[in-house]
């Protein structure tokens, strides 16, 4: 009898712990769910946009114009959108599937570019990517939502950094530029550009990588809409560092796309 009541007490205690743990989990989840909403309400930028555009390729192309033509309408929208982006003093990113290149532009001028080898990209994936990027409203611009560095390699050995730091009195943390081995850029949940470079790096955080995997699985159990590209690590370094959340990204759809 004594043993039975002790067992029941233990069982109740265990159940109590479960409930407390669940309530805590619930509270944490609720906080995560609500905090962005509040932040969103507070932000004066929240009403601002996700649209606009233009394209260098479109600036240079067809002299022949059919105004009823979808291509002409799309080109016009791209030009108007890019003109708006180029008014700002900040760089913007162009996924140019027509000109087959990735570009960072500032005030309309190319400051960084990298060729996109379209044959190397699965055409169905590309079509899905463009479709999800544009969405129901036919968006041409989306802000970059987040980036995730899976693995990287230190560019400068610690010993050299220590010498430089001592000579210049600068914080070695500020001097280091990690070369990315693999990173992802996200515009929407599951809308991903996966960049893989030519170096082997160390995972930056195994926990963060695992968490990213869990997030993908939960939000997109049937797989991501992603494009995988390969580039040298030195080129990828610029893209990785310039790609800060909020970076406006213009998509120039392939030729077959309607307006």
């Amino acid at each position: 009898m004594y043993i039975y009541s002790k067992y029941r007490k233990k069982s109740k205690r265990r159940l109590g712990r479960y409930i407390v743990a669940l309530i805590l989990l619930l509270l944490v989840a609720a906080t995560f769910a609500l905090v962005p909403v509040l932040r969103h309400k507070d932000s004066p930028r929240s009403a601002a946009v996700e649209q606009t555009s233009g394209s260098k390729s479109s600036a240079k192309t067809p002299p022949k114009v059919e105004f009823a033509d979808h291509e002409a309408q799309l080109e016009y929208k791209l030009l108007r959108t890019e003109l708006k982006l180029a008014e700002e003093d900040k760089p913007y990113f162009v996924l140019d599937f027509r000109g087959h290149k990735l570009e960072l532009k500032l005030k309309g001028a190319d400051v960084w570019d990298y060729p996109l080898e379209i044959p190397a990209i699965d055409s169905e994936q590309l079509e899905r990517f463009v479709f999800y990027f544009r969405g129901d409203n036919g968006k041409l611009v989306r802000p970059l939502l987040e980036k995730h560095l899976f693995a990287a390699q230190d560019q400068t050995p610690d010993s050299i950094l220590a010498v430089i730091s001592e000579a210049t009195k600068f914080d070695p943390e500020l001097l280091q530029r990690e070369l990315p081995a693999r990173f992802q850029l996200h515009w929407q949940p599951g809308l991903v550009l996966d960049v893989i470079t030519d170096i082997k790096g160390e995972p930056k955080s195994r926990l963060a990588n695992t968490f990213m995997g869990i997030k993908h699985t939960l939000t997109h159990p049937f797989g991501l809409t992603s494009i995988v590209i390969h580039m040298p690590s030195e080129r990828a370094l610029t893209l990785y560092r310039a790609a800060i959340p909020g970076l406006p990204t213009l998509i120039v759809p392939p030729m077959t796309e309607g307006a």
Binding site: W112, P143, F170, R177, G246
Partner: protein
């Protein structure tokens, strides 16, 4: 006993489902928070006019506006992320080299509390002046950094040895110049200026007239 059963059969599953739902909500909601800065939503309504002649004109004008933003002559691009400098046109890279840009560090004067941020400015600039055998007029922060007294006389501030053979100013006291620390090229170590190796500096100096656009990002 009944409470125990209710908790096990109702409360636990309900709370678990709620937790998962809220967790997923948190993950997905987070995505809609980022918006593009200063860009309006009105471009989807930017349709060509229905009349052919006006449509042709509108398209021509838009192409012209965008083309006019791009320099016709070669321009300099400074990539502070990778510490690279380019002289390029829209289609071609004419010169490229490794440089050093600002560290992003901060210096505070312990006496006055005045702060300096050592970063290379971002944006679009123009080469305003070109100098041969430039001398560096050391600003106050150079002495504070070295923990030396700030000299009264201007002559004591002049240093003929640190800026290399040439300097090209792009405004507000920022220059593209040489360095005596060529081993540090490729690392963000400067106080905001852009340092180049002597050989590359000569090539850039020769091909960069005053008025050349400088894009820094």
């Amino acid at each position: 006993m009944a409470v125990n059963r209710i908790a096990r059969l109702v409360l636990l599953p309900t709370l678990s489902i709620l937790a998962v739902v809220l967790f997923m909500l948190a993950i997905t909601r987070e995505r809609s928070m980022v918006t593009t800065d200063g860009v309006d939503l009105d471009t989807l309504t930017a349709n060509l006019p229905p009349e052919r002649a006006r449509a042709v004109e509108a398209l021509r004008k838009a192409r012209g506006e965008l083309a006019a933003m791009v320099p016709k002559k070669p321009y300099i691009v400074i990539d502070t992320h990778a510490n690279r400098i380019y002289l390029r046109t829209e289609d071609k890279i004419l010169l490229e080299a490794t440089c050093s840009t600002g560290s992003g560090s901060e210096l505070v004067d312990p006496e006055t509390g005045k702060k300096w941020l050592f970063d290379t400015p971002r944006g679009v600039f123009q080469i305003k002046n070109k100098l041969k055998e430039p001398w560096w007029r050391k600003p106050d922060w150079a002495f504070i950094e070295e923990q030396e007294p700030i000299p009264e006389s201007n002559a004591d501030r002049m240093d003929p040895n640190v800026m290399g053979d040439y300097a090209m100013g792009f405004g507000d006291g920022y220059f593209i110049h040489g360095t005596i620390y060529e081993r540090l090229l490729g690392v963000n170590v400067t106080h905001g200026c852009v340092r180049l190796g002597s050989e590359d500096l000569g090539k850039f100096y020769d091909r960069t007239p005053i008025g050349t656009y400088v894009y820094i990002f």
